[in-house]
Subunit: 429 residues, 2 copies
């Protein structure tokens, strides 16, 4: 029976399941409990946690006093991002997670009424971009993506010699990180064709299916984070779409890297899945002969996430045709893992802040249907993908919707869900 709040062991709560109808065995069971931010009826924003088809409003819950003995400043439940929550320690996050599992479990009847009063239907809820990162770094750490992208650009091209020695990455724009569901306006930019530069809407618009790492805690300038300390500095994972204009990228990237080809929009999923929910998905990374010692660790910091990308044209939507799955990948196939990326990102003493985000880079697998972007899948726009509406895609067309999803094995044996990340291409303005 339930003791004082949160005193029942999380394992007992998990075994008992949740009183929320439909939660047990679903992608949003007690074993998941991802965090998001929703527009509230009071005109503000409230932090929420997904459970079954519902969302637990943490501001309303905190108002009942059921979180009072935890360390959190009550103002954070009304933040417009998770940054306030992310400032707390991994111990505080663990205490909150244990409390939420307890409050939502079937084990505990005492507090059910006030908890139920804090539940909202997820359907129709306006979920906002949950992140406001101070810095956003994007990596390039799938071997299959890197190798196939090079070949798509130039058939005789080889991976750069640095690639097997470091997780190559770059900084991108934080101000254009946006929510799932937001329209992606086709960007203008410079490209080079027929011997001259031109300024037009992109003619080679692409997506990149990635996983983002959301950071907690703060380090000072001059501090390096060891790869083995990954779980102390990373709070959770999120779906990420690094929208890309390949025609701009090809012309602008030498020698300073991608700039406007990426900075018009980066989408993140509505739900941040805490690392704590992903223990069952942890894998050891392959051994990397070429990694220098600061990139080595013995931990299982790769994550077996089943990822899927689907595409739906405007015509398909109008005719009621479902989105067509165009790619399936396992995130554990990445060459460099998130711990190695973090160690590299801070190898020069770069400080980090709560809410900082870094992306895995396009997730691609070894098989032909494992291409995390069109650059690979269509070999640079040439081998087009046929859609059920009778059209074909080398690159994205206006009205196309890109839908990225991921699931992982949860502690209750069911597949936990990252939700879906959806972006629709709007015409250039």
């Amino acid at each position: 029976m339930a003791g004082p709040h949160g005193s029942t062991a999380p394992e007992t709560c998990l075994r008992a399941g949740s009183f929320v109808p439909g939660a047990d065995g679903s992608g949003f069971s007690l074993a998941n409990l991802p965090y998001g931010v929703a527009a509230a009826k009071d005109g503000g924003t409230h932090l929420v946690v997904a459970i079954g088809g519902q969302a637990l409003d943490l501001h309303v819950l905190a108002g009942t006093g059921l979180l009072d003995d935890l360390k959190f400043d009550p103002a954070i439940w009304q933040d417009s991002s998770l940054n306030g929550l992310l400032r707390y320690s991994p111990e505080d996050h663990a205490a909150l997670r244990a409390r939420l599992q307890f409050l939502l479990s079937r084990e505990n009847e005492e507090t059910r009424a006030p908890v139920e009063a804090a539940l909202l239907e997820r359907e129709g809820l306006d979920l906002l971009c949950p992140l406001a990162p101070g810095d956003f770094v994007d990596f390039y750490s799938s071997y299959h993506h890197a190798a196939r992208s090079m070949k798509a650009i130039r058939p005789d091209a080889e991976l750069h010699p640095n690639w097997t020695h470091m997780p190559v990455g770059y900084h991108s724009r934080t101000g254009t990180i946006c929510a799932s569901g937001q329209e992606i306006i086709r960007p203008h930019g410079q490209s080079f064709a027929k011997g001259a530069p031109r300024f037009t809407p992109s003619r080679a618009l692409d997506f990149e299916a990635e996983i983002g790492f959301v950071m907690c805690g703060q380090t000072r300038q001059g501090t390096r984070i060891a790869a083995s300390d990954f779980a102390t500095h990373v709070f959770g994972l999120v779906l990420l779409n690094d929208w890309s204009a390949r025609d701009f990228q090809g012309w602008e990237s030498t020698p300073l890297g991608p700039f406007l080809a990426k900075s018009f929009a980066t989408q993140v999923g509505a739900w941040i899945v805490p690392l704590a929910a992903l223990d069952g998905a942890r894998r050891r990374n392959r051994s990397q002969e070429d990694a220098l010692s600061y990139l080595c660790h013995d931990e299982a910091f790769s994550y077996a996430l089943d990822m899927e990308v689907a595409l739906r044209s405007a015509a398909m939507r109008d005719s009621g045709i479902d989105a067509q799955t165009i790619a399936r990948m396992d995130f554990a196939e990445m060459y460099w893992d998130g711990a190695q990326q973090l160690a590299h990102l801070t190898a020069n003493g770069a400080s980090t802040r709560p809410g900082d985000l870094y992306g895995s880079g396009t997730v691609s697998g070894p098989n032909e249907d494992g291409c995390g972007c069109l650059l690979e899948a269509t070999k640079g726009g040439k081998d087009v993908i046929a859609l059920p509406d009778g059209t074909a895609r080398g690159w994205l067309q206006d009205g196309d919707e890109v839908i990225i999803g991921a699931t992982a094995k949860g502690a209750d044996g069911a597949r936990l869900s990252f939700g879906t990340l959806t972006g629709r291409v709007a015409p250039a303005v």
Copy 2:
């Protein structure tokens, strides 16, 4: 005679000069009035404006009621950065500037006592980093820098074909933007030598003397800013040192650009000089045959700033030897100006936020003594610079101090000052 607050024309105030001793004819006359942020005795932070050898504390001044009829939320005077002030419109900024010129002018005796009570000695004042940018973009827009840097890396190298068609740039890290006077810890990182990568403290540490553009106002995703709208979106200019590790940069930069070579530290000056103070320094940019129409404008948006870089070793400091000037440049020599950079930065519809920062790129001139970084000045570390302490520099050594300064013609005919931006190299940790 003075009418109601701020009703005397700014020209009259400028002609009359300031009652602050030593301000007239100095680099910090009424014609300058740059903004900064200082640590306050109350343990907080206050916005300040430099005038002569003093700084006007805007929080204390606001407490006297002398800014009450202006639009500003009084909380912004205690911000830890200028971001709060930067959210206001150019008209609001102009009204504040006119008010400060009036209050500090010799014309106006009525309010002198409360204004004097808000003045602090600048000597000994703890000036903080005045900026907390949401995004930081750095450009590469000096032809002389680009051409000489390429040759320093490979004698037969030529400028990339995109260079004359667009202001090439990249995003860098905002979390490591830091104040003048802060020690720069020599970063660790990967470089490639003798056929193998290695992880060591940088052996090719360099500075880059730049000018930063500080943005005000906000644009939405999908909005392009026209080059001719530069002055509506840029509040002012600041000294900037984009510290660089050339050994890391050479190894990591293909294909995604500089990353750890730059992200360990970027310093900005303590004083943001408003564009309004720089009207006398405005010049027309050279015509650029290769610029596409979105990069063209007819305005005088180049700024004639006399820039200087000086170097002082620990031994020179210990022996009381002055810093040695190693470079002199005119900022008006830049190929792409700040208006073109802004038009390019937003060409893809990237949104901007108040406080965003973009850097000009290393400022270099045509003459041999006009090299804005050591990569150029020493041709990649080979043609060493002799220092008066008997040592020589290919790259920076621990204890070296880099001092960047700039002046411009002010509206009162005197040279207005950007102050100096100082950084000292500390040993790797």
